[in-house]
Symmetry: none
Subunit: 227 residues, 4 copies
DNA sequence: AATGAATGAGCCTTCATTCAT
DNA sequence: GATGAATGAAGGCTCATTCAT
């Protein structure tokens, strides 16, 4: 629950603790201060164009300090991904487990929830980052695939199967449906972190609504089924 | 048909000519030889991680030769985008103008055509490239937006309006629909050029079929309209 | 007297300090070690033909270290000029302010002093350097003009006005006189740092003596005043 | 007589000839067209900063053509010096040989003549060029010393000896006097081709007049003759 | 633990020089 | 003779990484 909330929010409790024991707190908080700074810069500039000097400067430490916590730039990258995404995904899984209601509403909830909890957050830049850099860092790509994508797909798979089993959705090629559902979310983040500045801004909520409308129209076990 | 064909096809006629006048032919063919080599490497490694030595080596020339044709690495990048994508898009526009048939079929044709002519080609890496690098090259992002994205969206807009006007599609929020249609295509290329190697390969044709099925289900002017 | 002394003299105190805290001392001494090395090489080879590798090697550091202290080769060049010449000029101004005696002796003192304190030092190469490179570095030329030439001319102007006011010198076109006085000094350095190796060595002291004699008395065979 | 005149003047006769036999004339004129272009650029930008592409372009030929006439950039530099200066000096010697009148007037004539025939011409940039580059091209410096400087000094030596022998000048350290006379001329060209653009423009004629006045009369307030 | 000066490999870019046409 | 495409060595500059303090 706690870590999943808005990742951009200041760590209020720790901050209070640090006022009392500034040194001690620092020690523990350092790694995540560093990955937070690195996340911002990686997302903003990409991996290659991000200088460790800048990461250190943003975190308020010296460049050498980075190497006390991370063996290399790549290790820092990996930590950014690991720390940023996994907790958020875990929280999403929990929300799913507790959900009760129609599968259509479940899907909508998952989509909008993802947008509010991840996509519309600093973390939203991570998928774009992974996409951009996966070729050069296969290990990280593999990690992301295993730990994030697979679990995310499982979530959607379960939701779709739930709907089909209940007769709410028509029989579906579930794996492909997953792709179709993921695609717009992916597009939203990609858009946000690459081309959105060239005019033609997307309105995320409206986009997701339309997407959901079309999706449900297509998934539902319609009385007659066209075509 | 001619200019649109597979960009990867060897330049057969010129090759014959070059046997006779190697130096002269080179002169004309060089730029596209260089952009072809650059496309491969940019797509494979990203802009920053691509060394001009490697581009030159792949094109079979020395590094200095690159600078006879392109002022800088960035200029080369821009040329890759311009040369690779714009002609393909123009050809797609022509195909649309000549199309006769149902709007549903038109949409399917455009989607599959895009996959066969661009997405499933070496050019498929370009969108991913743009996405990855647009932050660092706003000028190129702008260029791509103006020359490719805007025109591509216009194409889809026309197709959707055609369907709505004919009563074939239900009334739609057309702009959002465009996004929804583009998203899976984008996802396909992004997937292909980033994470596909981590297992969980996508089968493009099957994916597009499902996508189209859901899409049409959702777009059609259903006799009663569910939900 | 102190700051003005021979710029080539080793930094004796700091050297002792460095034995104790080698790293710490370096930090402060580096910039002038680097400009000293750069001065030698710029004077010897000219700006363009001087490689930063060589500057670094002569200063006993790596090439990258140069960039910790100077943003570019040009910035290094500018620092060489600023650090080398300006302090020497300031000291000369002080000497003038404290001078008492005939204006003829004042002039001789300024001329010989310049030779001993600048011209006959490693700094003597700087004017030649400026001359050689001013076309390609207008900014540096401007800087040198404002900070060195203008102030030097003011010094001479004051000395000449002093002599004319006292009736010691005849009425003069003072600005042109300044040029005439400066010219031989300029020539000495230019000669020293360009053609002197081709035989026909100049003997600076003798040259300056003759120069001064002619300056004060003219060439003519005397009392009656020709023309 | 002809070659000595204004070197900047168009070669009128040859131009006429070339109208008739363009090809034949070209062949002979090429080398000097190339050195003329090179002179301009060397003087303007210095040796290192002058690109052979630009020299070729200014001469209206291709870069490869340069190598038909000159073995290397340095050879071109040498040819520029050789062709530009030697004829001008020879002409000056002739003027001296024919001179009749007072030695003071002779000196004035030589000084002003030099200014009008060389200093104030495109050739005026050559001394500055030699000064700037002599360190890197000792061979050229030697050449210039032997062919230009030595002969120029001989000219002045003869003029001064003439004046002393006639009792017109007081007994002089003639070699140093030569330096003193040359210095302002050198300064004029150096000034023109380096720092003049920073304000503080020199007026050459006025400068030379003052220089000559001081040279002949000295600075002192006259009749009684100090020292 | 933290610092930041120092390193050096690596890359983009330039340009004198060559050579097939 | 003339061309200009091609070359490749060289240099300025960057930045991840190290290590003495």
């Amino acid at each position: 629950m706690p870590t999943f909330a808005d990742p951009a929010a200041p760590d209020t409790d720790d901050a209070a603790a640090s006022a009392r024991r500034p040194r001690a707190r620092r020690k523990e908080a350092r790694p995540s201060e560093l990955t937070a700074a690195a996340l911002d810069l990686f997302v903003e500039k990409g991996f290659a164009a991000t200088r460790l000097d800048d990461v250190a400067a943003r975190a308020g430490v010296s460049k050498g300090t980075l190497y006390l916590y991370f063996d290399s730039k790549e290790a820092l990258f990996k930590a950014v991904v690991e720390e940023g995404i996994v907790p958020a995904l875990a929280a999403a899984e929990q929300r799913f487990a507790e959900y009760e209601g129609s599968s259509a509403e479940l899907l909508r909830s998952l989509l909008l929830g993802w947008w509010q909890q991840i996509g519309n957050t600093r973390l939203g830049g991570v998928p774009k980052l992974i996409i951009s850099e996966s070729r050069n860092f296969p290990e990280i790509a593999q990690f992301y695939h295993d730990r994030v994508i697979s679990r995310g797909r499982s979530l959607l798979r379960a939701a779709l199967q739930r709907g089909v089993a209940a007769g709410e959705f028509r029989p579906l090629d579930i794996e492909s449906c997953i792709d179709v559902i993921i695609a717009p979310l992916l597009m939203l983040t990609v858009w946000r972190y690459s081309l959105c500045s060239c005019g033609n801004d997307i309105e995320p909520e409206r986009f997701l609504d339309t997407q959901f409308g079309i999706l449900i129209h297509g998934l539902l076990a319609a009385p007659e089924g066209a075509r």
